[in-house]
Structures are given as C-alpha cells and as structure tokens.
C-alpha cells in the first residue's frame, strides 16, 4: 500500500492520474502499480538484523565518536586557553609569532588531517557497505 491513509484507488475525475498521457515521464500513479512495485522494495529489517550491518555501524562509530570528541576538545581548547590564560598564549614562540597564533594555525592542519583520516576510513566503510548490500539486492 503506497498510501495507507487513502485506500480508495478510484482516480479523481480530471486529476493527473486519470488521463495520464502516453510516454510521460515521472512515477506511475498509485493505481497503476503492480503488487511488486507497490510493496516496500527493500528488506529493511533483514538488513538491520544482518551482522554485516552491525559491523558497519560499529566501524563508523569507532571512528566518528573518538574523532568528534578529539576535534571538539582540541578546538575548544583554543578559545578557553586564549580566554583564561592570555598571558601564556601571548608568549612569542617563533620569532614574533605567539602561541595563540600557532595554536590557531595548528587547527587548520588538524582539520585537514582528520578530513584525510575520515576519507581513508570511509573507503573501508564503502567496501563493507557494498558487501552488505550485495547480499540483499540483485543489481
């Protein structure tokens, strides 16, 4: 059932589903669908119960949770240190360049490195994902 709220499939007179022209693009109106097309096409529950899905989710969380915690703490350390320990952060380190600026610059590098690590990890997830879906969907 595509629309459980409205089980009456009688076409509305003059409505778009009533006199659909030949050769139209776009989805079929509900009353023209075959039983196969009408049903939910994907076995959601079966995929969710597959050990491969649990493994995929675990692999993602194992990267995303520590990754997020790390970048959030590393980033928030900047305004906290600058706000509460300004004297320390004003200390020149490289010539005239102070700790505050170098720490800010390191945030850019941190962002790019984490981005690259994410892309590498995501390649693994793509493979796991393709293997999982291959079990359920014939292409």
């Amino acid at each position: 059932m595509s629309n459980p709220e409205n089980p009456d499939y009688t076409p509305i007179s003059g409505g778009p589903t009533d006199v659909a022209p030949l050769g139209r693009s776009g989805p079929k109106p509900a009353h023209e669908k075959t039983a196969d097309e009408d049903g939910d096409p994907f076995p959601w529950a079966a995929i969710a119960n597959d050990p491969g899905f649990a493994a995929l989710k675990r692999a993602k969380l194992r990267f995303i949770v520590p990754g997020t915690l790390f970048f959030f703490c590393y980033y928030m350390a900047l305004p906290i240190l600058v706000g509460f320990f300004p004297a320390m952060m004003k200390a020149p380190i490289l010539g005239k360049v102070n700790a505050a600026y170098l720490f800010a610059l390191s945030q850019f590098i941190m962002t790019w490195v984490l981005c690259a690590m994410y892309v590498r990890a995501a390649k693994r997830w793509d493979i796991m994902n393709a293997e999982l879906l291959a079990k359920f969907i014939r292409r």
């Binding site: 776009g26 900047l78 994902n129």
Partner: protein, 537 residues
C-alpha cells in the same frame, strides 16, 4: 569623505557587468534544464564532487567572511582570526556527523530527514519556520552590507543597489533554480580564491616576501604610522579580552567559538547543497574539496587581514553610522592601495559576486523549504495535485522572500546588522543541529522532542540576542537600555538549551511508530539504500 570616489569607477562597473552577463547566460541554459522538482531543487543531483565542493565554499564564504573578517582582523587582530578558525573546523562537524546521513535519508530539505520517522506536519512546520528564520536573518545582514558596499564601490545609491541585487538574485533562483545558483557559487568561489591569493601575495610583497618580516610588522602594527603606540595584533583579547568594564569577555569568546563550530552543520543553505550530488560518497568528496578550499582561504585572511593593519592608514578606513571604523571596506581599499584601480575593480567585483552567490543560495534554501515542507507536506499532506506545483510555489516564494528581504534591508539600512549573522549561526546550532543529530543517532527520539528542540533553540537564540549588548546598548543600541544578558554570542547558553529541550521533550512522551521506523531510517542513513540518485537524461 571617501577618497576612492575621486577616480572614475568605470573599471569596477565594467567587471560587475561582465560578471552579471556571464551568470545570466548560465541562468538561461540552466532554465532550460530546470524542469521537475529534482532538477529545480537539487540540480538533478548531477553535480560532481569537486563542483559541489567549490559551490559549498562559494555558498559559505559570504561577504561577512571576505569583507567582514578582513576588517575585524585589521582592527581587532587575533580575536577576528577566531572566525577564520571556527568557520573551517566547523566542516569536521559537517563531515563526521551530518553530510552523509542527510544525503542518504533526505530529499530536498533538512526537514526530510526529521520527518522520515516523526509526525510529518508538526516537525516540518517547525523546521520550515527555523529554516526561513535563519535564511531571512542571514540574508538581511548580507543585503544591508551589499547596499553599503555597492554604494561605495560603484557609486550607485543604497536603495537601487539593494533592489538591483535582489532582482538579480531572483532571476537566478526563479528561472535557473539550484543549477544556476550552483554555477554562480562555483564561479564566485574561483574568483574569490583568485582575489585572495593575489591580495595576499601583494601584501607579502610589501614585507619583502618574508614571513618573519611580515609577522614582525604585524606585532608592531601602527597603521602606516598613523596609530601610536603600535599594537601587537597577534595578541588575543583586543575584542573579547576580559576587562574591568566587560568581565565576561572570555566567556563571550568561548560562546562565539562554540556557535561557529556547531552552527555550520545546521545552516539550511549549506545542508541543501548535499542534495545536489548523486550519492553520499560524492557528498563526502565535496566536503573534502570544500574543506581544502575554505581552509586555504581562511589561512590567507592572515595576510590581507593582519597585513592591512601594516599598510592602511587609520584615515583610509571609513567610519560607520556610530562613528567607529567600518572594517567592511578594508579589503577593497587595501586592493586599491596595492594594485591600483583595476585591481580595486577586480576585488570589488569579487565582493559583489560573493554577495550575489550567497543571497541566491539563501533564497533557494528558504523557498525550497517553504514549498516542499510547508506547502506540499504540511498544507497538502504530501500530495502534489498538479505536476510542477511544488516548483511553482517555490518560485513564487522566492519572489516573496526576495521582496521582504529587500524591504527590510532598506528599512534597516542605517543600523549595524552584523549581529544577524551571529543570530543565524546561533539558531542553526541551537535549533537545527540537536534535532538532526538525535533523529539519526537516537532511536527513542520523537516528535515532541523535535518540536521542543526546534522551538526552544529558535526562541532562546532570538530572545538572548534581543537582550544582549548587540541590540540593547544605552548609547547606540536598537533598544537604548542596559543589556539584560552580558554576552554578544548566545551559543554557550542557547545550544545546551536546544539539546536539553529536545532530550526532555522526548522523555515526556513515547512514540512507538517513530521507534519502529528507526530501523529503516538507520539502514537508509548508513547504507544509502533507497536514496534518490542522479536524474537520468
């Protein structure tokens, strides 16, 4: 009063017209393709990874970024550079938590993801309200800035300048849809990067192309000898330092940083960009491209921001309505001093392109949300009575959003509306982000929680801004009274409130249907199964 108007403005005007002509040609070709919802709202989901990366960058690096940040760094030094850092690191939030699930489980708007397993109508109505609020506030800030800048750059008066920008933006959005908007953003991103590089190299040239000399001069910035004693712009605290007068400076700075890093992942005009690509993998690639481009740009703000303070005289910087130096003009003036008339014209055209690309993106996201969420799904229960109705409503909405923004921008022209950008980020972080995250990662999450989170995030941001020093100021505020809330940036209070409201709202009710549908949403979000791919041609 303003020295640059002494010379003829023909080069700037010429480059403006060239840019407008180019974008109109693109709009013409996009208009022929923009038939059907997926084509109009999501550019047929056929944008490639690098293209979308450039478009995200073009959508994101607003006039507030280019003109505003270079100005605030020039005047306030390190504290302004915090914007550069926050605007970039924010993309880790987008990449890690939002981009792929959103692309996998949604269709055209942020609300698609929420409405997937929650009750359509209340959730979409609230999400649409939040989207319209963020986009309109952000747009008014851009338009008021645009009017002022165009007035100075090409000598067109404020009112015709704002109306002109508004009409152009409507042409892109109404006729060209997402495809034209995307290409305007891509071209703008390329122009902006070119301008930023050229400006940075010229600034470095003034310091013998030596980083050591450059930082040496920045640490004794004297604005070409017009300010003494010289100040060390690398030292934090010039804008947000805790002083006897403002003991909350440090907390305000932390609040700003928090709003920046969490706000981007809730900005509707950035989120809708991920629907223009064929799949989640491309969405990921586009975030990586965007992060590379945006990162380089914000590192360059070091040169044309800090560097400006070593080259410009204080008298070169015009004053705003309140009599304080107006940083917005720093980058174009710097370009004029370093590169002469033509380079000034080029940087002005870049600024103009920047404004147009961002307001077009904002109008697009606002009208998409109204047409798709509110009109189609809230009023008409998700049924399209006539083909193309959703797109027609979006075009009409774009017209109204544009008209209202033009009207408000003209009304608010003499006010300093920079706080509206902060408000947009705060609403995005406090209202949108909590419900997006809970919806994807928390099975128990339900409609009451979503509506509570959106409403509390939205209201607390607005109320805290209205009673903050940005609006309430005994001397120059919109409300002439002492502020009731000491921070200019509400994030540190409003973001936890938004998360808390979504959490408590959820615990107050149970919704078995929402929990039952979590399995399906979860499989969709993680695997991309069932996501709409690129339109076949």
């Amino acid at each position: 009063m303003f020295p640059l108007l002494a010379f003829t403005v023909t080069p700037a005007l010429g480059l403006f017209i060239g840019f407008v002509a180019l974008t109109l040609v693109i709009t013409y070709f996009s208009a022929r393709k923009a038939t059907g919802s997926a084509a109009y709202f999501a550019a047929g989901r056929s944008i490639t990874g690098w293209q979308n990366g450039l478009a995200v960058a073009g959508d994101y690096m607003s006039a507030a970024s280019f003109l505003g940040i270079s100005g605030i760094i020039c005047l306030k030094g390190y504290d302004g550079f915090m914007y550069s850092v926050g605007f970039l690191v924010a993309y880790l939030t987008v990449l890690f938590l939002v981009a792929e699930p959103l692309r996998n489980a949604g269709k055209y708007t942020m609300a698609d993801l929420l409405a997937y397993r929650l009750k359509q109508r209340p959730v979409r109505a609230m999400a649409s309200l939040s989207t319209l609020t963020v986009s309109t506030f952000y747009m008014i800030a851009q338009m008021v800035g645009a009017g002022g800048i165009i007035k100075v750059l090409i000598g067109v008066d404020f009112v015709p300048a704002v109306i002109g920008v508004g009409i152009l933006m409507l042409v892109y959005v109404v006729f060209g849809g997402m495809l034209a908007t995307t290409w305007v953003q891509i071209i703008k991103a390329i122009l902006l990067m070119g301008g930023a590089f050229a400006l940075s190299i010229m600034v470095l040239g003034k310091h013998d192309y030596s980083l050591a000399t450059f930082f040496e001069h920045v640490s004794h910035a004297d604005y070409a000898g017009t300010k003494s004693p010289a100040i060390n712009l690398l030292d934090p605290g010039l804008a947000y330092g805790s002083t006897a007068k403002n003991p909350y400076g440090a907390i305000d700075f932390i609040s700003l940083a928090l709003g920046l890093v969490l706000g981007t992942a809730g900005l509707p005009h950035i989120l809708v960009r991920f629907y223009t690509v064929p799949d989640a993998r491309t969405a990921r690639v586009s975030v990586v491209w965007a992060t590379a481009i945006i990162g380089v740009f914000y590192i360059l703000t070091t040169f044309f921001g800090f560097g400006a303070a070593t080259i410009l005289k204080m008298s070169d910087i015009p004053l705003d309505a309140a009599g304080k130096p107006d940083g917005n003009m720093v980058a174009p003036i710097l370009a004029h001093i370093l590169g002469g008339e033509w380079f000034f014209a080029f940087i002005s055209a870049v600024a103009f392109a920047t404004i147009l690309a961002v307001v077009a993106g904002l109008t697009m996201s606002a009208s998409t949300s109204f047409a798709h969420d509110f009109y189609s799904n809230v009023i008409h229960h998700g049924k399209e009575h006539r083909p193309g109705q959703e797109v027609r409503v979006a075009r009409i909405t774009a017209f109204f959003v544009g008209a209202i923004s033009i009207f408000l921008a003209i009304q608010l022209r003499s006010l300093n509306v920079a706080f509206l950008v902060g408000l947009a980020f705060s609403v995005a972080a406090s209202a949108n982000l909590p419900v997006i995250l809970f919806s994807v990662f928390w099975k128990r999450f339900n409609t009451v929680g979503a509506v509570a989170g959106l409403a509390v995030g939205l209201l607390s941001s607005i109320i805290l801004i209205v009673i903050s020093p940005s609006v309430m100021d005994p001397a120059v505020g919109l409300i002439k009274a002492a502020p009731l809330f000491p921070l200019k940036n509400p994030g540190i209070v409003s973001i936890p409130l938004g998360f808390l409201a979504a959490f408590i709202g959820t615990l107050c009710s149970r919704e078995p249907e929402a929990e039952a549908k979590f399995t399906e949403l979860s499989v969709r979000a993680e695997t991309g199964l069932g996501a709409e791919g690129a339109t076949q041609h």
